[in-house]
Symmetry: C2
Subunit: 185 residues, 2 copies
């Protein structure tokens, strides 16, 4: 069965996105660096984190999104949970992943599965950037932003508390969940 000319001669549906490894931080041609989130939040809810959506926001015929997040030294993502899951793959540096009542260390190509309704935060306590892929279903629920006071059981564990109490947000008012959330969701 011969493939039709239409099929065989179709050009790639997206331009070739060339990775440019000599730049700091990691960047791709024609892939914009977007805000970590647009949802209103306290200033200390997250710090030093950027997002680049590698697949899933350019008309691709896929039911998922592949995002690259990079956390600068000393930075962290929001403390949150939601009904959808994250598939996380370490790409550069070393990070810590608060994952329910555990802490995992994530290095190059280490995997972390953040299951539904699992409280999580990613943190970079190292002197070099921590970068990772985070793949999610395109259709997903909004994250629920958490304050330290929302997870009292976790605070009893000093190792977890150290990741939860970043930026002095304990007791800060929880932001209103309005508009499309584009955080580490």
């Amino acid at each position: 069965m011969a493939a039709s000319p239409e099929t065989t001669q179709r050009p790639p549906l997206a331009p070739d996105h060339r990775f440019t490894p000599t730049t700091e931080p990691f960047r791709w041609e024609n892939i914009p660096v977007t805000a970590y989130q647009r949802t209103p939040a306290t200033a200390a809810d997250f710090a030093g984190i950027t997002r680049q959506t590698l697949f899933g926001q350019s008309g691709e015929t896929i039911g998922f999104e592949v995002r690259y997040f990079e956390i600068a030294p000393g930075g962290w993502s929001s403390l949150e949970c939601h009904g959808h899951a994250h598939a996380v793959i370490g790409l550069r540096g070393v990070g810590k992943v608060l994952l329910g009542d555990t802490v995992q260390t994530l290095r190059f190509l280490d995997l972390a599965y953040i299951g539904p309704n699992c409280v999580h935060r990613l943190v970079n306590d190292e002197p070099t950037p921590f970068g990772f892929l985070c793949i999610v279903d395109a259709k997903r629920d909004r994250p629920r932003r958490l304050r330290p006071a929302d997870v009292p059981d976790l605070l009893t564990n000093p190792a977890l508390a150290a990741l939860i109490q970043r930026g002095g947000v304990q007791g800060a008012p929880q932001p209103t969940q309005s508009g499309k959330t584009t955080s580490l969701d």
Copy 2:
């Protein structure tokens, strides 16, 4: 709103999969190396390629699968097309991607989008392993395996013909598409 103990204390739903970078080829703890495909095929339909499914076959609550393929020096994947798309990210080495009527070179963190019904094959003509992530929707159609004779228009381009005519499969009988296909689909 306090997260429930059930939520906050839930352990990771999958074990931590630690990447072991000192081994050749790339391997992960507790991630099996699976056959590239189970569909009957001619011996030369593909060569030197392995698959490891990093996410999506361990009961995760996700609608996609994240697979790592590694092609040994001189190897290649099947020549095929199908209705679903591939999101490909280079992880090690250098490979060539036949993508419709183009050839792309894929290096570390380069991206390639293989759209619906786009004829494709990945090839390693370098002396080191070529490894890449290939992310797909969990629900997807079966690939249509192609013979060189199925893509006569592409064969008129020497650069494409060199990738299509691997293993002397020209004119070989097309395998029966029976059973669950687990190739680069």
